[in-house]
Each structure stands twice: as structure tokens, then as C-alpha cells.
Assembly symmetry: C2
Homo-oligomer: 337 residues x 2
DNA sequence: CTGAAAGCGCTAACAT
DNA sequence: ATGTTAGCGCTTTCAG
């Protein structure tokens, strides 16, 4: 590996001059500059960013930590963050938090954070206790539907309101028994499933319809294949089900398949609403009615908060934001009651 | 930021002892060990990996460079690579190559590679000339459907054979006019679209059916929304079309939507086959027949090649592998002719 | 405008 | 079993 010293020797100058040419931090005379660049080209030199970063004390890149790579939502998230962060002249690198291991935030992965100037951390499988281990680390903004320690900036979706809207919509359009696929009751941890189940409850209360807890379909994994199987089984066991709220679009898409398997027509027999408003939902059949969580809003705010926290005088108080949500009506729900 | 020196002072030992306790490289007496760990805990110390990596000369992580985050295929790729690389005790970080900028491989992003022990590089928008700029850099394995300089290890999909299989299948099942959505004729660059169009041609030749070049639907972007619009327009303009080969599953899924928009039944009026065998394809309606490119095989080989290249005596010759492909038959094609 | 010395935080190699 | 010295490759500071 060529080093700056070798370039300096080849060009007959000091390392400092090479450094200055490459970083542009100080003026260098055109001639020496030319000699240096020529040596750089001949030796095929490239700066060692590890060394530079050690000296600088920063790296120019920010990390996005997601629980899974192979999930449409996190892919979209990454793309949005990259776009927002490019304007700041920084690079995004995405790492997968080796999801839900006993020590998800192992000592090592915690130390890795120091290699970045800041991090956006999508917390899913993380317990609050583990989050508390992150102390005087780098600037961090949390994303995700979990309860987090108050000292962190945090942006989350309007889970309760979104779920309420989704279920209200189906009840308005004539559904009586709305299954919540991937729902979950109970206190701790107050995660996404629980929050959205709360919205499901609220919609029932507001509509004056008793919420039947048997309609809460707990799921081990919130993926398409599981949802398909379990929703098909659920409607077979309870033929009265005439609406399904999937706690994510993946679950809702699986539900559509499961209902097909069970011989139910959507939206005539059963209405379906999802949550996330993934692009694919607009292009399948029937097109999926979904809750749009304002992902752009979420990312813009996360980047703004991160930028503030990385600035010279970071805010003393952490912000906790909840994104606005809206229902995007498509073919998986009926036009009228 | 706490440093190792501070920990050493707090524990009343030398920095070397702290280093030894934390890295486990040398034996340390239980008592001092305990004192050190206590100081580490009290000061909330974490090693500076930038410094450690500079000293070590390696980073323990490998990079996966993809053109886009928000694409199901690259998400799945990332997940597979992470799994395969975890066994080697290494971390994967994913970066987005700021796709198709004039200087996609800017000097800086090239330099960034040095921060990793190796890289798997999914080349899509990259010209061969740009790839040639990567010289005595770190070990690299290329992925993707493009022609690459021979000195690189390269794993690609069986594009021609896969496309041939897809189109042969539709011709066997009675299609006469098979549109290739996202196809492209011409020499340079020999990219994915071109290779798959070659397979489309081959299938026609083998079946003794003349290939009508009007059935090659070029697309600016290979995404669902574009495919939907352009396929709908294509079948409106040419009602004789009775088969669509989408060069990717995204394109095929868009084609399904476009055909629906145009009032065509799949598979009765028009058969559809995609390429990638994304998970979602098995769960939409109609279920998408697709070419499985053996993604696991691709990733396993890429990781194997990378490992070999990172080893003490790297192979002198580069390998160029083509993945086996197979047709996965589902509901978007007919059971018989 | 250019150079020499010092040091970012850590660990390999050599003491003790 | 622990400590001291030197240096990874770069840039900041201080001189010229």
C-alpha cells in the first residue's frame, strides 16, 4: 500500500506538501502542486482514511443501523437517509444490528459507533435497558415504535392514530369483525404491535362496537409468509371475520394471499388495510389500502435532529416527535358501507 | 471521549495492560484485570476502533457496495452477505454507490474502500473504464450482469439461459408474441437487459419462431411504476401480445398491473414471467412465474472468492462464475399449451 | 509558500 | 505479569 511519504519522496517534497495538495487546506505553488499530483498518479496513491480520520477526530460518515436489510421498509429508509445526508456532504453507511441476539448491542458494535460522526438507529428488537448502555457516545437519533430513554432524540410513526384511522375506515365501510393481524395486548415492551392494537381498540370504542380480544392475532414473525398462513387459519376458524388490519404492509399483503387461499373476496367479503404504504401496495391486486406514515417527514426530521446534535452547541433537551399519518384509500377496502 | 490512557491512570496501570485486558492478547493477573475492568466501567470507556484499525492495518469489516438501497434484490443480497460473512467473524457494512453520477467512483469513494478488508461490489451503472480505475486496492469481488475487466473475480447470474428458459416456457405454453419488457438490443455496454434480450432471441430461434424486434420494449427505468405504464401502452398498441417477459420481477409485477389496467387476463390472455424470484412474487395474484437466479449460490461464491483473495496467498487467476438458473412455475403462466 | 516536529489512540516488539 | 519505546499514516502547530 503506497503511503504519503513515498509520494513525497517521489515528488521531492515533504509529506506536508503532499497533504496540502490533497486536502487543499493550504496554498501550494502550481509547479510543486503539479509534481505532487503526477507522483500521486504514477504511484496510484490514495489517502488512508483511517489515518486521516484518527487525526481529524471525525470520519465524515454517519451510520444507519437497521435490524434487517431484507425488508422493503428499511431499504426505503436507507435511500431516504442517503438522499437527505448527501446534501450535508456526508456518506451514509448501513449496518445491520445482528437483530435480537441476547446482546444486540454487544460491546463491539457499540464501539463501532465511534467510527461515525453520528448515527440514526432504527430500534426494533431493542430493550430500553440495552439502549441505556449507550452513554456519552456519538450523536444518535432513534427511530422506531418503541419506548426509549428520554435523553435520546426520537422520531416515531403515529402508530395509535394510524391504526385508529385504518380500523375506523373499515368499520365505517361496514366491517363488523376486524381482525388485527400481528396485534398484541399487554404492557411491556410498548412496541409497535401494542401501539397499533391500542389504535384498533380506540376505533372500536369510538364506534361503540365492542372489541373482541379473540380478533387479536398474535404473530411470531411479521412477514408475508407467516401472515398468509395464519390469516387463512384465522378466517377458517372464525368465518365471521369481515375485515383485516395488518399491522404492517407485509402482513397485509400476506393477509390478502391468505384470504384468497381461504376463498374470501377482497373487498366484498373482507376488507384489508395495511400500515407503511409501501410502493408495491399500489401495484398488486387488489390494490392495498394503507396508512401512510410520512416516511419522508420522519427521515427529514431525524436528519435535522442529528445535524443539530452534531453541531457545535447541541440542544440540551431531546426531542420526541410523532409523524403525521393519513389513510391512502385503494381497492382493498370498499367505497361505501 | 475517554481514552485508554485515562483508564490506565484510573486503574493505576500502564496503557499496555489495559490494552491486554481488552483485547485478551496477553495474560493479565485476575486482580489487575478486575481493577482495569472496573475503571473501564466507571469511565464508560470504549476502544477507539479507528486507532486500533490504523495500528492493526485491517478493520474486520467488509463492504457491500450496491447501486440502490431501496430495491428488494439488494436488500436480500445484503441479508445473505451478512449471514455468510458473520461466520467469518466479520461485519458487513453497506454503502450506496451514488449511482450513475458522472464520477460514480469518485476519488473519495475509492479511498473509502481502504477502510475495509474487502469489498463485494454490485456493479450496475458502472462502465468498464471506471472499474479499471480500481487498481491495487483491497480485495474485491464483483457482482452483476455487466462485462468486467478480466482481472476481477466476478459472479453473475445465468442471464441468457434464464431468459431463454422464461421465453421458451411461454412459447411452449402457447404464446406467440412475447414482449420483453425492459429489453434492449445493441452491443455496448453488454448489460443485463442486453443479455436477457439475447436469451429471448435464442428461445425464438430454437422454437423456430421469428423474433419481432418490435416486441423489445426498452425502458428508461426498470421499476414497477414505469413497467406498469409502458406495458399497458404496449398491449394497447399491439393487441396481439400474448406473453410478457419482464427482465426483472419488478418489471414483471408492473407488467401484471399494466395488463390488468388494459383489461387483459393473466395467464389466460397473456402469460407473464419475471426474473429474480423475489419472495413477494409467490404471494401476489396471480402468483408470478419467475427465473430463480440462485442468489444463495451467488453470495456463497462471492464470499468464498473474497475470502480466498483476502487470504495469505491469494489466487493468481481471477474466477468468472455464472450462476445456475431454474424456472419456478406459478400462476402467471398456463399449465398447458 | 514549504518544512520539521509532535501527536491523534492504539498495539507489536522488546524490556524488566 | 507488567512496563517502555516506537510507530501505524496522517495533519496540526510552529518555524523558516
Amino acid at each position: 500500500m503506497t503511503t504519503m511519504t513515498e509520494v513525497a519522496q517521489a515528488a521531492g517534497v515533504s509529506v506536508m506538501t503532499v497533504s496540502n495538495v490533497l486536502s487543499g487546506r493550504r496554498r501550494v505553488s502550481p509547479e510543486t502542486r503539479k509534481r505532487v499530483l503526477q507522483a500521486v498518479a504514477e504511484l496510484d496513491y490514495q489517502v488512508n482514511l483511517t489515518a486521516r480520520n484518527l487525526r481529524y477526530g471525525r470520519s465524515g460518515s454517519i451510520a444507519l443501523l437497521v435490524p434487517q436489510f431484507d425488508h422493503a421498509y428499511f431499504g426505503a429508509l436507507g435511500a431516504r437517509v442517503a438522499r437527505a445526508v448527501a446534501d450535508l456532504g456526508r456518506q451514509v453507511v448501513v449496518e445491520q444490528t445482528t437483530a435480537s441476539q441476547e446482546g444486540e448491542l454487544s460491546a463491539l458494535s457499540l464501539a463501532r459507533l465511534h467510527m461515525y460522526d453520528g448515527a440514526i438507529f432504527s430500534v426494533v428488537g431493542l430493550r430500553e435497558a440495552e439502549l441505556d448502555k449507550i452513554r456519552d457516545s456519538i450523536p444518535i437519533v432513534l427511530l422506531g415504535e418503541r419506548e426509549v430513554p428520554a435523553r435520546f432524540d426520537h422520531v416515531m410513526m403515529g402508530n395509535i392514530e394510524g391504526a385508529r384511522l385504518a380500523v375506523e375506515h373499515m368499520l365505517n365501510r361496514g366491517s363488523q369483525r376486524v381482525l388485527i393481524a400481528g396485534g398484541r395486548l399487554g404492557q411491556d415492551p410498548l412496541g409497535m404491535s401494542r401501539a397499533r392494537t391500542l389504535g384498533w381498540l380506540t376505533a372500536h370504542n369510538e364506534a361503540g362496537i365492542p372489541a373482541d380480544e379473540n380478533l387479536i392475532l398474535r404473530m411470531g414473525q411479521l412477514d408475508i409468509a407467516h401472515a398468509r398462513r395464519e390469516v387463512a387459519a384465522a378466517v377458517a376458524a372464525d368465518p365471521g371475520i369481515d375485515g383485516v388490519f395488518g399491522v404492517t404492509d407485509d402482513v397485509a399483503i400476506g393477509a390478502l394471499a391468505g384470504l384468497r387461499d381461504a376463498g374470501r373476496q377482497v373487498p366484498e367479503d373482507v376488507q384489508v388495510v395495511g400500515f407503511d404504504n409501501l410502493e408495491i401496495g399500489a401495484h398488486i391486486h387488489p390494490e392495498l389500502t394503507s396508512i401512510d406514515p410520512s416516511s419522508d417527514w420522519i427521515v427529514d426530521n431525524a436528519v435535522r435532529l442529528l445535524q443539530a446534535r452534531m453541531s457545535d452547541d447541541p440542544p440540551s433537551e431531546a426531542e420526541h416527535l410523532v409523524s403525521p399519518v393519513r389513510l391512502v384509500e385503494r381497492g382493498s377496502t370498499r367505497r361505501d358501507g
